[in-house]
Subunit: 192 residues, 2 copies
Amino acid sequence: MRDRADAEEGQPLRADAKRNRDALLEAALAVFTAEGVDAPIKDIADEAGVGVGTFYRRFPTRADLIVAVYHHEVDRCAAAAATLAAQYPPFEALAHWIDRFMDLVVTKRGLATALHSEAPAYVELRADFEARLVPPLKGLMDAAHGEVRADVSAAELWRAVGLLCAPATPENFSEARRMVSVLVNGLRFGAA
Amino acid sequence: MRDRADAEEGQPLRADAKRNRDALLEAALAVFTAEGVDAPIKDIADEAGVGVGTFYRRFPTRADLIVAVYHHEVDRCAAAAATLAAQYPPFEALAHWIDRFMDLVVTKRGLATALHSEAPAYVELRADFEARLVPPLKGLMDAAHGEVRADVSAAELWRAVGLLCAPATPENFSEARRMVSVLVNGLRFGAA
DNA sequence: TTTATATACGGAATGCAATTCCGTTTATCA
DNA sequence: TGATAAACGGAATTGCATTCCGTATATAAA
């Protein structure tokens, strides 16, 4: 079974390259968890036991690495939308999914901030996350049609939630939760 | 009349030092407007016609410079609270002041982002703005007591609005306005 | 096997902005 | 009109990010 990188690139990686790529992903997860997604590239390369040149050949931008490291997590979050939609009434399902998304970004140190960075290397990161997470959110919003303000798009709601999570950490999460709850209330209050 | 820097420092600056400080502030305003508050320090020093050493002697951190450059604007925004409180019913005054604050941060390229940066040099910037803007906001919220959710503090509301403005530019401002309006609606909706 | 070669490797070299350092200059005041 | 504290400029240093390139190796054809 070809893995994701193969499937996307076309040409399979040489055995040593694949080994190093996997080592980099594992190292990056460890370093990201310890130091955040802005950790020096050298730290990650060292942890993986490869040179920085090898790192850059595989992940030209930091965003490429972040996307790869959290690929599965993002997919699981996207998939949760369907489950929640089946379990709860429309508006509740929407609210629960937003919680689920908040857990995703707040748990990964610095991810919420990186997601909204203006740096060119990161616009691709936001685009990737957005492309995979906004459609499920849009589905939930459509299902709650009539209970949510009609002038708010899924994409901007998604961005707003991410922004409110930017300063949050796992220990200091209650402010972000409260502000998002205010936002979600506003979403319902202004329903057409 | 001693100027603000004198008043805060204690010792008046030597004539050449004051001249350079003023030149740096003027240059910084121009450069910030053109390139944003993250512009290279060298650009600002060059524009002012001084060496970078002179810059750093006067403004040890970039935050010091930003605070000084926008000092008057921040004061005017703080003062607007009283005016608005006298002109409008409590909740409306609150909403108007939030608009006023948004104008302040969105007009200054990159300011909203810097305001929420995690970098150590910037925590002082947020603290300064927060110390001068949250009290007036708190006054407005207290006046609208009963019409706003009681579990939301002025400080966190202030931070939330700033966060939602982070990606906004003067041209692309409507999304931030809409999201803040949703937030403000939520504030009222959940009123005790 | 062997060998040709496309890939990949490591880490030195380079680039760039932030920040510090220090020998020289100047404003101030006795 | 000195003495001296304060300030000046910009070279040097630092700390990454990113590129470059000579060497090594996996792969597959002979």
